[in-house]
Subunit: 182 residues, 2 copies
Amino acid sequence: MFGEDEPAEYVYEVLSGAVRTYKLLSDGRRQISAFHLPGDVFGLEAGLSHRLAAEAIVDTTVRLVKRSSLEKAAGTDVRVARKLWAITARELTHAEDHMLRLGRKSAMEKVAAFLLEMDRRLPATGLIGLPMCRRDIGDYLGLTLETVSRSLSQLQAKGILGLSGARQIALRNRQHLRNMDA
Amino acid sequence: MFGEDEPAEYVYEVLSGAVRTYKLLSDGRRQISAFHLPGDVFGLEAGLSHRLAAEAIVDTTVRLVKRSSLEKAAGTDVRVARKLWAITARELTHAEDHMLRLGRKSAMEKVAAFLLEMDRRLPATGLIGLPMCRRDIGDYLGLTLETVSRSLSQLQAKGILGLSGARQIALRNRQHLRNMDA
DNA sequence: CGCCGGATTGATCAGTTTCAAGGCATGTGG
DNA sequence: CCACATGCCTTGAAACTGATCAATCCGGCG
């Protein structure tokens, strides 16, 4: 969709599907900053270029808005300016919460937090349909895909969740997850 | 200075000294989100309350600006609105960089990145005068204070830096640090 | 001079990663 | 329609990094 440090010509809104935004180290290590789901805006920059790369992780449709037209509107309409600020502030809130997870939580706590986040953000059908693979979850949480898999297996063994295929998850005990989320 | 979830009545600018902003878990684990040095603005919220706590870590003077007056100015002056957005965007950039460190870097890489950050941001006197203790550095990098101390000792043993007292650090080989920063 | 908080260093431990093997579902070509 | 290839996931065992526990050490200050 776009790469790190590319000029930020457009702002994107997810209409359907899912997008990951991430940074890479030279040796291939990857940190996924956020998953963007339908309704989310991403790729908005106050500066000139994107500071994260973005890729669709399933079939996805997005709406593009020219950055220049937003800048122009913000110059005349205070509400637009306020909205742009609010979008960035919301991303910052998420980043601050995520830093706490990355820096100070155990693998199990990270996975619990991830499940609760997805449960909150994905359509409430009673079954979470994850759009991303285990490696993506690991790169989001600062874990290996094996550790993510093991954590999920443990939660299943304890009856806290049910797996129907790797990507369909039923939360059976949200309160227990919240407790481990600390 | 202020606590997590307190109403955000003021915005702060550091005039001298240093401030840490952080989040706490119920069991006392702490993640420091950023250190704020002279010239930095902190405590600016698009929402109603602070999402981080803030404390001075040395003798510090700050300038307070009423949030309501900024909001008012932003309503009439587009440049003020743009400036508020830019401040938040800058914090987001830092947070995104820091997530990569927290999630994907080794202890030594984190410490190297920290030293380079401080070298860049503190007055260039040839000797970095750290305002924070080892525990603060650890809570910023997602490490224990012992690991921070050991990493610094190793860097000293390799001649990459010189310690004069625990908080005065001379970088003798910045390029080497940049290499380990990946 | 002696105290005290912060820092260093050492030894051991635990959690996560790494390396490796195998399983399960999906899709494709014979 | 089945056999097999492929990608993703799970599971196991061993190795390693960083945490924990514990004992000094150092420097500033009363």
